[in-house]
Symmetry: C2
Subunit: 208 residues, 2 copies
DNA sequence: TTATTAACATACAGGCTGTATGTATGCAAC
DNA sequence: GTTGCATACATACAGCCTGTATGTTAATAA
């Protein structure tokens, strides 16, 4: 057994260093913004030098992309864990949206994923990341709802993107201090609005 | 009459220089991104020096804010010009959304207003700007629709924000090459989804 | 064992931002 | 109209940051 500073395989070293860099960067990128965080600060927090950073990542943007990727995965995981697959597509959709809003309350997460992410990496790259993680569940939920006849048929890509956009903005607003209830109510109204016949199943009287 | 290089009043000089800087910055910010555009490049394009820039603007961000402000005003103006006030709230809403999508096809506008803007100035600042220009019309349209009983009652702020978010994402997607028809169809479905179905009892909805 | 490559650390070269300083011109008071 | 101050800049400077080039040590393949 080799000690911390003993001899380690190259693969272990790489893995550990990359993880340290991503963790340090994640912390700083969520505390401050991408632009306000310098690489000297990141490597200091990670306990390495800029040489290590530029050995493992092409540039600052690539490190940022890795952080975003990881964070998106964490969010997706939190959603899947928090929202058990419901029998009714509509309920699953709502549970998922609640879970998303809850997950996005982690400090700095909205800025990282919803502001800096799109600006630094571009919408296309963010779409690609989102589709690989969180949005996948959303799209599947929407498709399921459409198949179950509980939602009118619409272009899937566009529908997913616009719902995702609404969820994102809601997360931003709630994070900024807006009423979560208000945004939740509108989101539910948007979902229910797409149900083909009048209005979905008897809604459990929300009237307190 | 004094010539271009003759003696001009200070107020005229200030006005002209500020306008030149904003125009040059707008051009570069739409061609490239905020981060990729340096102040040396901007002042060169404007025909002044960095001294002038920092005399008139606190920093690069302040100049960017001025550009965004102006561009948002232009978009709002294009919308109002293109969408005649319709008798029916729903039609006005759709006309406005079409006008918005059309206006946002101007090169670089989506990145300026929808990506760099929020990232550089923050969502709160962008909301403030939007509410002063484009979103105002949207909110009024929604309120009118709700008043006309052609839309269920929902919290106005949240409703406006989420619709704006959907429009924004649609503009981004269309600008990126997605099918405008698809996004238009979903947007219309979302709008129509909120209209209380004729033969449907008015649902108890809380206002604000 | 030796050769090669990976994993860094260190040193360096621009470029950019914001500020400090200098200068000429408009403008207001006398 | 001259004097004095403020405005509108231009120029010069300091600090930081990014990306690259180079050097060194340790792992791994031959």
């Amino acid at each position: 057994m080799q000690q911390k500073s003993g001899r380690r395989s190259n693969r272990d070293r790489t893995e550990a260093t990359r993880a340290d860099l991503i963790a340090a960067a994640r912390k700083l990128f969520t505390e401050k913004s991408y632009a306000e965080t310098g690489t000297p600060e990141i490597v200091a927090a990670a306990g390495v030098t800029r040489g290590a950073l530029y050995h493992h990542f092409a540039d600052k943007q690539a490190l940022f992309a890795a952080v975003v990727e990881q964070e998106a995965a964490v969010v997706a995981e939190e959603i899947e864990r928090a929202s058990p697959p419901s029998l009714f597509a509509r309920d699953a959709l709502i549970a998922g949206s609640d879970a998303y809003l809850a997950a996005m309350r982690a400090p700095g997460r909205t800025r990282l994923l919803l502001l800096d992410g799109p600006a630094v990496l571009g919408r296309a790259a963010m779409d690609e990341i989102d589709n690989r993680h969180g949005n996948r569940t959303l799209r599947e939920g929407l498709v399921a709802a459409m198949r179950a006849q509980s939602m009118v048929k619409l272009p899937v890509e566009a529908l997913t993107a616009l719902f995702a956009a609404a969820f994102d903005r809601a997360a931003l607003a709630v994070d900024a201090g807006a009423s979560a209830d208000d945004y939740r109510a509108v989101l539910m109204a948007l979902i229910d609005g797409l149900s083909p016949v009048p209005h979905q199943a008897p809604r459990p009287a929300r009237t307190r």
